[in-house]
């Protein structure tokens, strides 16, 4: 077996590594020049492709509901009620109390589950750990440390209400005073 392994190598060695042939063709300096050039080109190509890969991972088009959406005219919402039509698609409740309309986030402030609106008990109740929120979004029971967040809400020129989820308002920071966090009715 070892003879088999050696045979071609020996045959090759006899013709190319004769003592006088060291100074032919490739010289040390030239070899390293090409080697360096080769590695540089390889590094550049690899680096370029790496950038392409990173960019590739950030999609240009999202197949998600838009962050801003129209919810209709103010008189479509009856006083002291919670509208759950936009919960599934947009993760928002539209609440109307005595004097304003506001959009509440459906993300529980405890660990991010989605609470349910319990009409008979007049509260939002999270099924995961039992956090409860008033119709205003203020937490009153369970582990939730702070009220639900409100989304930006405003009137469009056509009279419809627009909800913008890119901006949210936190009660504990006093942001519910902001006039964009509710709609006076």
């Amino acid at each position: 077996m070892s003879e088999n392994k050696q045979a071609p190598r020996a045959a090759v060695g006899s013709s190319t590594t004769s003592p006088g042939s060291d100074n032919n063709d490739i010289r040390r300096r030239g070899f390293f020049r090409w080697l360096a050039l080769g590695w540089l080109a390889f590094a550049a190509a690899t680096g370029g492709f790496f950038i392409v890969i990173i960019r590739f991972l950030y999609p240009n088009v999202l197949f998600e509901p838009p962050q801003t959406f129209k919810i209709g005219f103010p008189d479509e919402f009856s006083p002291n009620s919670v509208d759950t039509r936009f919960k599934k698609k947009h993760n928002a409740w539209v609440v109307r109390d005595d004097e304003s309309i506001f959009a509440l986030s459906t993300t529980c402030t405890h660990l991010g589950c989605t609470p349910n609106w319990l009409l008979t008990e007049n509260k939002f109740k999270c099924p995961c750990h039992g956090s409860g929120f008033r119709i205003t979004g203020i937490n009153f029971e369970g582990p939730a440390p702070r009220p639900l967040e409100r989304f930006k809400i405003g009137l469009l020129d056509d009279g419809q209400i627009l909800v913008d989820k890119t901006k949210s308002y936190k009660w504990e920071k006093g942001e519910w005073e902001n006039k964009d966090s509710f709609l006076k009715v």
């Binding site: 088999n4 392994k5 050696q6 045979a7 071609p8 190598r9 045959a11 090759v12 060695g13 013709s15 190319t16 590594t17 042939s21 490739i26 492709f49 392409v52 890969i53 960019r55 590739f56 991972l57 950030y58 999609p59 240009n60 088009v61």
Partner: protein, 264 residues
């Protein structure tokens, strides 16, 4: 701990650091013996021979075709994995996802890279075979590796064929319909093949259109939803997995059969 000797050059100090030694295992190699040890001690470098015959760098002899085949395979693996982030192998989405890969996905060239690299790989693998044949490199002790190479070439063509279906356009569906019809004629296993009629109990044929080897390949009687999923799995997991095993043997045997072949 020893204080770093600031008089030594940075590279030298790096080579003697614990981090370097834990990764590279040997210090900066200085003798031929140490250099050989450094090559053999690295999982990546050990794929290369510790010492290279001078003729091995003569590209004119090997055309670098084997290395290029492997390079293209690595490219296809990387671009293929990236495509899997966006492509869904279902009748509902496959075609539109391919359109999206060109029109909406960033840069829009990943699928083209994959496609053209695949074409190039088929070509290069054939040229690799031509080179090996023309130089007589299939002769003993390399005849076993030639056999492994033939299997690898077949796997390359099967990868190409299974990938062909994934765009799920008219070309893909009918090309695979035509191509997979060949399986009908498989001896004994295809329902139109020689000997299939012999496998019968009384009047009942065991091998028919709903039970032959083509049925197993397509997951149905025609190229449909099940076929798309089967070809996707074969293309992304099944065949590459088998090909990688054969490639490992192929590269290993190059070394064991006396290194890269050269002029006699």
């Amino acid at each position: 701990m020893e204080k770093p000797d600031n008089k030594k050059p940075l590279l030298e100090r790096m080579g003697e650091s614990q981090v370097w030694k834990s990764i590279i295992r040997s210090g900066v190699p200085r003798t031929r013996r140490q250099r050989m040890h450094a090559i053999l001690g690295s999982v990546f470098l050990h794929l290369h021979p510790a010492r290279l015959p001078k003729h091995a760098v003569k590209v004119g002899y090997t055309w670098c075709m084997g290395g290029l085949s492997f390079f293209l395979f690595v490219n296809l693996t990387i671009t293929g994995i990236l495509l899997m982030f966006y492509y869904r192998p279902t009748v509902e989405y496959a075609f539109t996802d391919i359109i999206d890969l060109a029109e909406q996905v960033p840069l829009g060239i990943m699928r083209e890279l994959h496609r053209w690299t695949a074409h190039a790989m088929v070509l290069i693998v054939w040229l690799h075979m031509v080179r090996v044949f023309m130089t007589g490199s299939y002769k003993p002790p390399r005849e076993f590796n030639w056999g492994v190479g033939v299997i690898l070439m077949t796997l390359t063509l099967l990868l190409s064929f299974t990938g062909y279906l994934l765009p799920w356009d008219q070309l893909a569906i009918w090309a695979v319909t035509v191509g997979s019809n060949m399986a009908r004629a498989t001896p004994f296993l295809g329902h139109e093949g020689p000997g299939a009629a012999l496998l019968a109990i009384g009047d009942i044929n065991l091998i028919h259109v709903g039970s032959d080897v083509r049925f197993a390949l397509l997951g149905g009687r025609f190229v449909g939803e099940a076929t798309l999923l089967r070809f996707y799995v074969l293309h992304c997991i099944g065949i590459p997995f088998i090909a990688m095993i054969f490639m490992a043997v192929h590269f290993w045997r190059i070394r064991k059969d006396g290194g890269i072949s050269g002029p006699l």
